[in-house]
Amino acid sequence: MINYLSQILVFVAIFLLLATSLNLVLGFGGVFSIMQAVFYGVGAYAAANLVVNLHAPFPLDLLGAMLVTMALGAFVAALLLRLRGELVIIGTLALQLVFSTIFRNWNAVTGGSYGIFGIARPALFGVPVSSLTGFAAFAAVIAAIFFGLSLFVARSPFGLAVRAQREDAVLAGTLGHDTVRERAAIFIIGAALAGVAGALYAQFIGYVDPSSFDVNQSLGIITIVVVGGLGNLWGTLGAAVILTFLPQLLILLPATSAAAAQFQLLLYGVILVAVVRFWPNGILPEQPSIRSAPARGVRPALLGGMEDGKALLERLAAVTVRTLPTTAPIVRVEGVSKAFGGLRAVDDVSLAIEPGRVTALIGPNGAGKTTLFNLICGLLRSDSGRVFFGSQETTRLQPFEIARLGVTRTFQDVRIFPKLTALENVVFALSSAGAHVAERAGAVLADVGLQPHADRLAGSLSYAEQKILMMGLVLAREDPVVFLDEIAAGLDHASVRALGVLVRRIAASGRAVCVVEHNLSFVWDVADIVYVLDDGRLIANGVPADIQANTNVIEIYFGRGGAPGHA
């Protein structure tokens, strides 16, 4: 019995590692890979070759397996991870099928259909771990180590960054994160973990052949992850245990016919469909990586409803804005143009955004305001012209590189990470900015009045609260240059007024603030200088009073009332 359980324990360990590797990639990273069995197989073959041909002792075999799978992971990441999710599914499926063929046919390395025999069990301190119980203990320790490391990764700032880019890679980029690299990194980590599982498997069974690393294996791993809960490693542990035991229960059925084995397939399929349909979060839903320090004396539940979002918004006017220690750079845009197809969205625009002032961009819908924002922040590449932050040219920089120069931008309406908690949102926004992140994040939430909701998912906050949170991200980053895209949209007068005060105060703290806004009364209230765009061209600029009086501007904004049109 103990031996039997030992063997199951080994498989639990192997499947735990495999499922953990996939949960990091899929649950945390949002990369839908169905080639995890490939990394499993590559790890197994790598370890088998190392042990059989090179007599590599433990842990060299394990390290070798990890290195090889990481290299393969890097290759796949480079080719596939910039594609949209659906294509990643199919691309990894294609690779799974290609590698199944390679495993079967590359005789020199995989032993072809024959596989590789005689893989010795590892030796610890010169003593081979040959008994089943001994190996089970060994496997459990290895699995525990790597599971622990995975937990550590999941809870680290990097883990938070990986989850954030899963939710919104563009937003993560404008908050200073190199999301492509983070995605690749988690994919490679996942590959390495699967490689470890492969090495364990090879040494346990003592024999590797292609049948263990096919597409069904990949799908089985996905089932474990989905049942356990995407983004929760403890759930994966639970599911790995349950789903490794479950087939064992099938020995209750007499194995008198072929049907018995098909039941396992059936069972897994039914579980998969049922879990996705009725229990989409799995056994354990995703948990935040950080929790707020419990508020002293105040129970969040009591706070809820005391202040509604609108009141909080109005309170924003009084929020602390720290004075900028140094002078903010002047953002200069010189002759920037951008065309989409034949349409010139931004046409030879030059302007300067100066510190201590609020610069507003206005113009009718489709005038190119947001496009110009995106060009300045690096989300789009301009066709011609240059952009400078102080003396540094940023024309060709990536969004995250520009963000790291000290720029915060918000997006139209409201854009935050809905599946991260409010606290995590702020921590993430701060995470490219150094130490004491959690404390500072807590302080910022307290400042804007969201402290009671710190551990709630941002997506579950009310619209007003989300807006406040978005402004919290801006305040938290304390960047010298701030771009605000239509922050007044969807709010009532009092809230808009409060936001206006806040924007003024941000500028007064020495920062360069640029707003794009449709709500003109807001613009007249907050702006020091207004630029008017029409059809991608800058047609006027000046102080609000001048613009208000400029008939040309009125015309482009409201059409040429009464006057006959021209083609």
């Binding site: 003109l520 208000q548 904004y557 009464g562 083609a567």
Partner: protein, 233 residues
Amino acid sequence: MLELRGVEAGYGRGKTVLFGIDLSVAAGELALLMGHNGAGKTTLLRTVFGEIIPTAGTIAFRGEPLRGNSSERVRAGISYTAGGRAVFAGLTVNENLAVAASVVETNKQKIADRRAFVLDAFPGLQRCLDQVAGSMSGGQQRMLAVSMAVMQEPQLLLLDEPSLGLSPLYVERLYQSIADIRGRLGLAVLVVEQTINPSMLAADHVAILRMGEVVVRGGPEMLADSERLWSML
């Protein structure tokens, strides 16, 4: 024809965009709703069209409260032309028209008659019937989008910024066509716009929407006084 009373609507989680909208459009009327981006114009049209469910207030069509999803509203006689290039880019002009018509009509002869009618009202489409819609100019696509709605012979036509991005000449033509159809079919038209073109003076009513509320109502003469409009917004 269309009667909105105290309509409130938004996008959930406390994001309310429309506050207590009262609005009515009678048969044969052209109602123009002006406002900036973000004022709630599109939300209003989508609410009437059934894509957004109002959180308060009533919407009546021909005296009956409106029910059902957008597909049912089209069959009830409400057609909607969304903003932007609301055409099937990969289908030909002919197919675009046919698709739109066949939502409400299966009789081939009737569809052909309607097409003749629409081509008469939008003569510019005649020579590009077999062209793929995606390859046409923005103005032509807008014409096509409106004519697709007309193919459904609605009693109420909802147009979302039909003049956006069009040259004034095109806007003029478009409004001429709309006027033409309105005259012939006697349908009610609710248009939202943010910029003014002289051809819009043909409107029977003008209302101005600001931050989700109707702030001013009046006749087309309001449009002539852009200074006053400016101050109102």
